[in-house]
Symmetry: C2
Subunit: 209 residues, 2 copies
DNA sequence: ACAGTACCTGCATTCAGTGCAGAAATACAA
DNA sequence: TTGTATTTCTGCACTGAATGCAGGTACTGT
């Protein structure tokens, strides 16, 4: 996941390295001292850069928690582009959203787990997460509309993507509130999948075109 | 809409009055100078209270734009409570959401119009709006689940409400982006209403329960 | 090695938001 | 009305995020 892509010059590699150490330092400090009690100055110091310089890497403290939000959207867009001529919009969308992990997949690494916790606990972080989600939604909808010009206008595409993302988000929200203890991920996932399939049944069945 | 409810003592009436003049002053100043360039100190001064005191009326600058977010949720909850025994969850939910105006109703007063504009233009405001929406969603879902214990568990209710709100929001978003010029409110409103009905159509046809 | 460009950094500044402590206003009982 | 308890207001001092600026530093391509 962390790629010091070759083919960059010194400057860019250095920049990527520093960016990564900012994320690492922040993860460490947020876990140890809490989000609010960690200052941007602390993080910058831990990564050995000036406080001022921090803001040329991340536009705000919250951004530290979403360092690769673009990849996910890109993955979804690619999935739409790589559709089969036989596919319906819904099928393509389901596949695309599965790739982005619609907000709930990787409980694997520390950052993802931390992010999930802070989204619940810190309003500023939740606000940022929702904005990123909305942006992603809009981009995906735009691409979907373009991919199926015969079957979807832009408004319908917006509604469709909104419904899917909303259903998953709504379900995940409840599940996470109900499980302060870490009820194992498998079970969590299947609960969400069942709920969303109920909520979205109307969209799934109608083969509307 | 603005009620200096009787039956309050002097203190409470005074407080309500000051609160209202804060909202008024803010509306005025935001329109005149822009959101970013209006400081909390300006607003407090315009309403004749100390800067510090402002924060005992509103927890943040953004809150000024959402002074009655509770009424809307309450209306939806009431609509759920007032359901007919024959109703399906979907029917009740549609009625409830129509009441809250799912984010787009009153293009009538200045504050509402301003809010709509600032949600698009100012990230901090958009973030707050999304949080309020999510909160509302969760409350409505909780009540819906309680109202239909046989047909919905809490997770399914979350998914259903999320899907509805997501669909409407997604559709409305597209419509509003398509109208950068102030296409007069009437037209916007009808466009939004059409978008909403498009978004909800999939659920309206199937009589699933 | 050199010039040109991009980046880093400290300093000063603005503004949102909080804690505190004393002054002011209001409620309530007698 | 008066006096007392309680709530609310307000200035002051402070923290911390974020931005503009100006000069220094480091990398690039030739």
């Amino acid at each position: 996941m962390v790629r010091y892509d070759v083919g960059m010059n010194l400057r860019d590699r250095k920049r990527a390295r520093i960016r990564q150490s900012l994320v690492d330092a922040a993860t460490e400090l947020f876990e140890r001292d809490g989000y609010e009690r960690t200052t941007v100055a602390d993080i910058a110091a831990a990564a050995d850069i000036g406080t001022r310089t921090f803001f040329s890497y991340f536009a705000s403290k919250e951004e530290l928690l979403f360092p690769e939000s673009d990849y996910r959207v890109q993955a979804a867009v690619d999935a739409i582009a790589a559709r089969d001529p036989e596919d319906t919009p819904v099928e393509v969308l389901v596949r695309a959203l599965h790739l982005t992990g619609a907000d709930s997949d990787d409980l694997t690494d520390r950052l993802a787990a931390l992010r999930l916790r802070l989204i619940r606990e810190v309003p500023a972080v939740r606000g940022r997460a929702l904005q990123i989600q909305l942006d992603a939604q809009q981009q995906i909808a735009a691409h979907l509309a373009e991919a199926f010009p015969e079957q979807l206008d832009r408004v319908k595409a917006g509604a469709l993507v909104g419904a899917f993302v909303g259903a998953v988000t709504g379900a995940v929200q409840v599940v996470m509130d109900d499980m302060p203890a870490h009820h194992d991920p498998k079970e969590l996932r299947s609960a969400v999948e069942e709920a969303t399939s109920v909520a979205l049944r109307p969209w799934m069945t109608t083969r509307s075109r």
